[in-house]
């Protein structure tokens, strides 16, 4: 369904992605783990062209793109089929919760306001925010903001959900409510890519774990293979460090 090949990207003289290959099948829930600065978020952003690789190709079903050529039609086609949940929530500050979820449906998908409202209310109910629809982002907690972000992403009915460290900016006591929503989403069968440092959570919800290190995919396998039977010394070191922290 989604295939990235030989993705390379650098920020100035820092090489962030060093030739990443990744393929995702429909229905996969893939967690991307790894040390900070190894390009996990950047890789996710490459999928919807929020970051622009210097080389590499992406194939999303029938849409194919070579990153060396700027193909706006392909970029837009991929953006319309993916939806991203951000680490910093990035909920539109000038709109209420309901408007945040409705707006992409009306503006981008050209749905009628009535239909957009119906879908938005449905998704907001799903993430447990029915009582906050008229609140502005400034009136919400971090967990509520992230759930708004998730509802906005779900409402566009994407083929793939991209979660970029969705709980990293939250107070520990708010993490649970967001993880619960993400678990509900991923268990509904929607293809998902999740960049996370929540190891136990990744293990529980994913059918595949990708370990990134120094800009490449260093290990790739089922949760059992990655967490219990890996022979990669960098992965073992990383998991030991993460475990001791948690």
């Amino acid at each position: 369904m989604l295939e990235l090949k030989n993705i390379k990207l650098s920020y100035g003289s820092t090489q962030v992605l060093n030739g990443v290959d990744l393929s995702v099948k429909r229905g996969d829930v893939v967690s991307i783990i790894g040390p900070s600065g190894t390009g996990k978020t950047t890789l996710l952003k490459c999928i919807n062209s929020l970051a622009r690789p210097s080389s590499g190709t992406i194939a999303f079903d029938d849409v194919r793109m070579d990153y060396q050529k700027l193909d706006r039609t392909a970029i837009q086609a991929i953006r319309l089929r993916t939806a991203m949940v951000f680490q910093q929530f990035n909920v539109f500050k000038n709109m209420t919760v309901l408007q945040n979820v409705m707006d992409p449906l009306v503006v981008v998908q050209r749905k009628s306001k009535e239909e957009a409202r119906r879908i938005a209310l449905e998704e907001l109910d799903r993430v447990g925010l029915s009582n906050k629809i008229d609140s502005y982002p400034s009136q919400l907690s971090g967990g509520q903001l992230q759930r708004t972000g998730i509802a906005r992403a779900l409402a566009v009915k994407p083929d793939v959900m991209l979660f970029d460290e969705p709980t990293s900016s939250l107070d520990p006591e708010l993490v649970g409510e967001v993880l619960k929503v993400i678990r509900d989403v991923t268990s509904s069968g929607i293809t998902s890519l999740l960049v996370t440092h929540e190891m136990q959570f990744a293990r529980n919800i994913s059918n595949r774990i990708v370990f990134m290190d120094r800009g490449v995919v260093a290990a790739d396998g089922s949760p059992a293979e990655i967490f219990e039977a890996s022979s990669n010394p960098r992965l073992t070191q990383f998991l030991t460090t993460e475990h001791s922290i948690q």
């Binding site: 062209s49 929020l50 500050k93 000038n94 400034s138």
Partner: protein
Amino acid sequence: MDLSIMIPELLSALPLTLAITFTAMIAGFLLALVTTTFRVRRIPVVSQFADFYVSYARSVPVVLQLFVAFYGLPLVVALLDVEDFVSPNVAAMVGLSLYHGGYLSEVLRPAYLAVERGQHDAADSLGYSFLQKLVRVVGPQAVHIALPGYGNAIIYLIHNVALVMYIGAADVMATAHLVMERDYNQYQFETYLVLAVIYSLLCLVAWSIVRFFEKRNARFAPNTARAKATVMPSV
């Protein structure tokens, strides 16, 4: 001195002052929008031209900009081979529109850049076009950030309209001078005082409108300090 005669005489020129102000406000705003778009999108050549224009509008004294418009416009008109329509009033409107547009662009550009990167990313990732993103997401947030600066820009514009008398436009200031000279300059202080009240009232109205919008938008920007309303704007 009879105030009941002097004040209506001064106010008779107010429509022209207001016409010049509103024309420069609207044309300048549109000009600032276009210029700012060019500047933030970094389109080669066009962006540099926009930068140059803003630099001109901000660095050349306004009275000099009015002279440039007054003496330069007829030359431009002659080049276009159309009948010369450049009166002092038209030159004043064009000159101040150019000044205000350039000045305002330097208010709008930082405001646009102050909108968090994440807001752009979210809109882009959802498939918004640049224009949709500007109108729906970034624009309203940038406008809120720009409002205090915009208020100042309007107040400076009102002040600078008083300079149009130097190119012969008969605004309130020019009329005041006529009135004073007719009275053998006996009542200069009183006339200037009335003039000061008129300009203060104009600024107060402009400031109140901007404040209204600032307050209206405050609901989505709680982190900005809420200034206590004072009777007069500090300009």
